[in-house]
């Protein structure tokens, strides 16, 4: 993947994409706001969510051991995975042991993160995504672009075409007379997937929460595809990030209020499934749980970044982010897009090795809306700035970039007011030079602060600014010169107006 600015370039040029994104993000953010406003104690609830997660993380090892013991006592088989490769291998082994060449899947960020589908495909096992949006993405050989609504970048007519072109290739074809009505499209997905649900022997899921004291796994969803996968097959494998643990069943009260409202903007999502190990006569009789690290312990070791492990994958931050709204999820080059992706990916993978990862903390104007809506109070702007410092530090021994040189020079300048005064005087001179060379004071209709002449186009790196924005010509007299000349403004006429 190219670094964010280059990837964003493609997305910004796609007007259909921008219109789809704008509609979708604004619809969900408005819905969210309405249901959040219904809750008097929303702020207190956010704080509680953050505290429960922080307390849990501070004793993560103990809670993981409790979870393992509870699950084992309830008949589940617990596996541990250091990284993606280990986790994928565990899932593939279970599937192979049962002799299957396909598994059905509930939408799960953890399994996308470890690229499980690709790993299973390499073993000759097809992994069928069953969430409608994931199905659209999978059939279209596309990438998800949003945590909650992965096909947010597609409109109804694009979806219709994908169904007509690709459903037949992996099972029951779409009806030939399929229209682009959402109800009909959903109906086509229902029929296409039902045959898979009914015959599947092995299912793969993630979990929104894993309760240590009871061994309860929780999956929150809307369509019922989750229930199908969690209930009908004989074998269930759940890949669970180690940060998903909640100490007690009672902690669900907070998160089952925070998550649906923040995520889909509903008081409650249609279906929440909870199960603990095996229940004789009900649901899968062989249950595996894979506890996944894959960089999470790196995040835990970062005292500023650790708060990112509170994340409950609601995607509220995506829906309010002005950058995400304009670039979409693909520009982030990861299954975790948007503001949370811009911190989570560098935290999980580490910075300083990959230009794409290093570009992510800069993919933000630091406007702070993500922090405002985060149900577990992750201070995303703070973590972004922290990661930017890590990126800079990781490259300090290398060949200096233009930005490195500029920042070092500015630092030297600003550390010494004497040097700054000289520089400011020089800029006044520069003003006259620039104005003389370009005849800019003659530019009319330019409207900059101070209502003065503007520079139209800059050469070199300045073009990043001036491609779409004028820049005011520096004033002849800086404020500090005026202050000195007018004795602190007491004799205003002496300095005159710039």
């Amino acid at each position: 993947m190219p670094p964010f600015p280059q990837a964003a370039h493609t997305a910004l040029a796609d007007t259909q994409l921008r219109s789809n994104l704008r509609h979708a993000t604004h619809t969900i953010r408005d819905k969210r706001q309405r249901v959040v406003d219904e809750v008097d104690q929303w702020e207190a609830l956010r704080t509680k969510g953050a505290q429960v997660k922080d307390d849990m993380l501070a004793h993560l090892d103990e809670h993981l051991l409790t979870l393992e013991a509870s699950l084992t006592a309830r008949g589940a088989i617990v596996h541990w995975a250091r990284d993606a490769a280990e986790a994928c291998a565990i899932v593939a082994q279970v599937a192979t042991d049962h002799g299957v060449d396909e598994v059905v899947k509930v939408k799960s960020m953890a399994t996308q993160e470890i690229e499980l589908n690709e790993a299973l495909a390499a073993q000759g096992i097809a992994a069928w995504e069953t969430d409608l949006a994931e199905l659209i993405v999978q059939l279209g050989d596309d990438l998800p672009s949003h945590i909650l609504v992965p096909a947010i970048h597609r409109n109804r007519s694009e979806i219709r075409q994908i169904f007509l072109d690709h459903m037949a290739g992996s099972g029951r074809p779409a009806p030939a007379d399929l229209t682009d009505e959402p109800r009909e499209l959903a109906g086509a997905a229902r029929l296409h997937l039902r045959e898979k649900f009914l015959r599947a022997k092995v299912a793969v899921s993630g979990a929104n929460f894993a309760v240590a004291e009871t061994g309860t796994l929780v999956v929150v969803e809307s369509e019922g595809n989750g229930r199908m996968c969690l209930t009908l097959p004989e074998v269930l494998i759940s890949v669970v990030g180690i940060e998903k643990v909640l100490p007690r069943f009672a902690d669900l009260d907070t998160f089952l209020q925070l998550l649906p409202r923040s995520s889909t903007g509903e008081r409650m999502n249609p279906y929440t499934s909870m199960w603990s190990g095996i229940t004789p006569g009900d649901g899968p009789q062989e249950v595996h749980v894979v506890l996944l690290d894959n960089g999470r312990t790196n995040v835990l070791a970062d005292e500023v970044g650790r708060q990112a492990l509170r994340c409950i994958r609601c995607s509220a931050c995506l829906n309010v982010c002005p950058v995400y709204e304009r670039t979409g999820g693909h520009a982030y080059g990861s299954v975790y897009p948007g503001p949370i992706g811009a911190i989570l990916v560098p935290l999980l993978k580490g910075v300083g090795h990959d230009a794409q990862v290093d570009s992510l903390p800069y993919a933000s104007s630091l406007c702070g809306r993500c922090y405002e809506v985060c149900p577990v109070k992750i201070d995303i702007p703070e973590v972004l700035v922290h990661l930017r410092a890590e990126v800079v530090d990781a490259h300090r021994d290398g060949w200096p970039t233009g930005m490195d040189l500029a920042m070092r020079a500015t630092s030297v300048l600003f550390a010494d007011p004497g040097r700054m005064s000289l520089a400011v005087k020089a800029s006044g001179v520069a003003n006259r030079v620039v104005a003389g060379l370009t005849g800019l004071p003659g530019v009319h209709g330019r409207s900059l602060p101070g209502g003065r002449a503007a520079i139209g186009r800059l050469p070199g790196p300045g073009a990043a600014w001036s491609d779409a924005r004028d820049l005011p010509v520096p004033p002849r007299t800086s404020f500090r010169t005026w202050w000195t000349q007018t004795h602190g403004g007491r004799d205003e006429t002496a300095g005159g107006r710039s």
Partner: protein
């Protein structure tokens, strides 16, 4: 503190702040040791480079009762990031110095409304304006509707609401350069909303955002002016602010 960008690029804003505060009976000084809050370095990740700048800030403003800044984002940096930079320096004296200066640093409208307790500053400005609340004053500092309270008391001023006012303008410091295309896409929407109000002047409390938005309005030949809030609050019947070049 005036801020580096106002000092070098927008001296009229500084003069307006001085006139306004003097008019309200404040003893104003401009310690020449001041340079920059360090935000450009901090927000781009250059914490080592920010250390001497923050040190310079604390030494320049030592001993004053209040540091008033006509920029929400610079105050945001002073209050929320100077501590981080000081800890990075490993110098306990700097940590203490920051702990002394940060809490007495105010964004202009906070100082007017909370410290001086005024919303009517005796200003007159006979134009239609729309106000863009910048992200850092809105979300990092929580200045709320203080700027609007101040504008509502300005004589002859007509205030029109800016649609989607709380949306970021896309400036974001070095974001405007590192992700110029996204920055401009965000700015275009802000400018479209602003122009749609029919106001003559787009007002904000931060000249860095206005540098970006003004640069776009200028390129579009929109005929709409941008002005810092301080210049409007400083404008009086006798000494009106000039609109238009």
């Amino acid at each position: 503190m005036l801020t580096c960008i106002n000092d070098t690029m927008f001296p009229e804003t500084g003069k307006a702040v001085v006139r306004l505060l003097r008019r309200l009976g404040v003893d104003v000084d401009f310690p020449p040791g001041q340079t920059c809050c360090g935000q450009p370095m901090v927000n781009t990740g250059y914490l080592d480079e920010a250390v001497p700048v923050v040190r310079q800030f604390t030494s320049a403003f030592e001993g004053y009762d209040a540091v008033v800044v006509p920029s929400g984002s610079c105050v945001g940096c002073v209050r929320h990031q100077h501590g981080l930079v000081a800890r990075r320096s490993g110098d306990p004296a700097l940590v203490d110095a920051v702990a002394a200066t940060s809490p007495k640093t105010y964004e202009l409208t906070e100082f007017l409304v909370d410290v001086l307790g005024v919303t009517d500053v005796g200003a007159t400005f006979a134009h239609t304006v729309t106000y863009h609340p910048t992200c850092h004053s809105l979300r990092m500092l929580g200045v709320g509707d203080r700027p609007l309270q101040l504008l509502q008391q300005v004589r002859r001023l007509r205030l029109v609401e800016l649609p989607a006012a709380e949306e970021c303008c896309g400036f974001g410091g070095t974001f405007a350069l590192k992700n110029a295309e996204t920055s401009v896409a965000m700015g275009s929407d802000k400018v479209r909303h602003a122009r749609g109000t029919g106001a003559e002047v787009l007002v904000a409390s931060d000249n860095s955002c206005l540098l970006h938005l003004g640069g776009m309005l200028s390129r579009e030949q929109a005929g709409m002016r941008v002005m810092h809030l301080a210049e409007i609050l400083a404008s009086t019947q006798d000494q009106p602010a000039v609109v238009g070049s």
